[in-house]
Symmetry: C2
Subunit: 218 residues, 2 copies
Amino acid sequence: MSSLPSIGVLVSGSGSNLQAIIDAVEAGCIPCKIGVVISNKADAYGLVRARSHGIPTEFVDHRSFDSREAFDAHLVKILRSYDIRLVCLAGFMRLLTPTFLGAFPMRVLNIHPALLPSFPGTHGPRDALNYGVRFSGCTVHFIDEGIDTGPIVAQAVVPVYEDDTEESLAARILKEEHRVYPMAIRLFLEEKLTISEKKVFTGNAGRISGFSCRNPDT
Amino acid sequence: MSSLPSIGVLVSGSGSNLQAIIDAVEAGCIPCKIGVVISNKADAYGLVRARSHGIPTEFVDHRSFDSREAFDAHLVKILRSYDIRLVCLAGFMRLLTPTFLGAFPMRVLNIHPALLPSFPGTHGPRDALNYGVRFSGCTVHFIDEGIDTGPIVAQAVVPVYEDDTEESLAARILKEEHRVYPMAIRLFLEEKLTISEKKVFTGNAGRISGFSCRNPDT
């Protein structure tokens, strides 16, 4: 009889952020269990990661639904059956509709590989590189009905080098994603986050520190 | 008979970035002399700063010209009379027209109090605070015909705290402005900067470091 809350993780691919979350949970750094991992791709490696850690998985093919809303309603049904308190997107490549967001208001987190509001969309590292910025990073944010416009929970910064490729920059950013996403999930589950006028407050003046749950191998 | 190139600085107000440039030049950290400081406001404190360091000043009232182009043409005439190689905007509150930019192509620098392309316009710190980002900063960029869209030379990052006011955040950013603007000017004058497809390359893979010309009092 665990009293820990459950989170659900949605993936479409490799799920390296899922792995960072699994590692943080197993290390005792996030007070939760991962109730279910759902993928819209049958061959997503994220499903393999989950199974190898004994986490229930579900494959839901979005192509078998007549509408985005019907797909989303089915996801909600599954998540509710696992009593999910927080939904974490980890490389989930489908836009969520109000059907989903209304079921989990301000309870869906995403991580984006750029310092939002710069470089929203699907090519954060490439867009940053092409623009010529000297710093980029990643952003954990609540999902709202815009594209990468929701309230920001946490960010991390990395330098951009002139000899970076899209791959080298993305890898540098990903390392920070694996650090801040578990931290943001913990803040949510510890009920530290409040939202006012689209801004997220942590009760710590934003001076988040001391989260040392990083797995040096990830 | 000095062979040092001359730069011109355009101000409209306090000119704290002008002071940082003066300090860096006087400390021998930027290989140039400041040929002239021009203000479109008669009472700009930047003019006082310049005079107290023996730098020639000019006041040009934009209201006394029939058009932006006429005003800009007059500025160009003055700058050419001082044989100015690089123009640095330091809180200059007038938009420059192609008349000006054509006379100094990719030879006009500006500093903006945000991590562009986030938060362009006249309220960088306020906009960052209202958005709820965790990091902001400043950007030195060449002026092009857009608003804060020109090629980026240098950036610096500062944290944004939840208890920040617009003033406290602006002050934290300003400190970094005073550090990176002189550094960017030096890179330009040392002919380290090349521009390709809107991106600025420094020949150092962007790993700019070792510029320790900061005046601890500024």
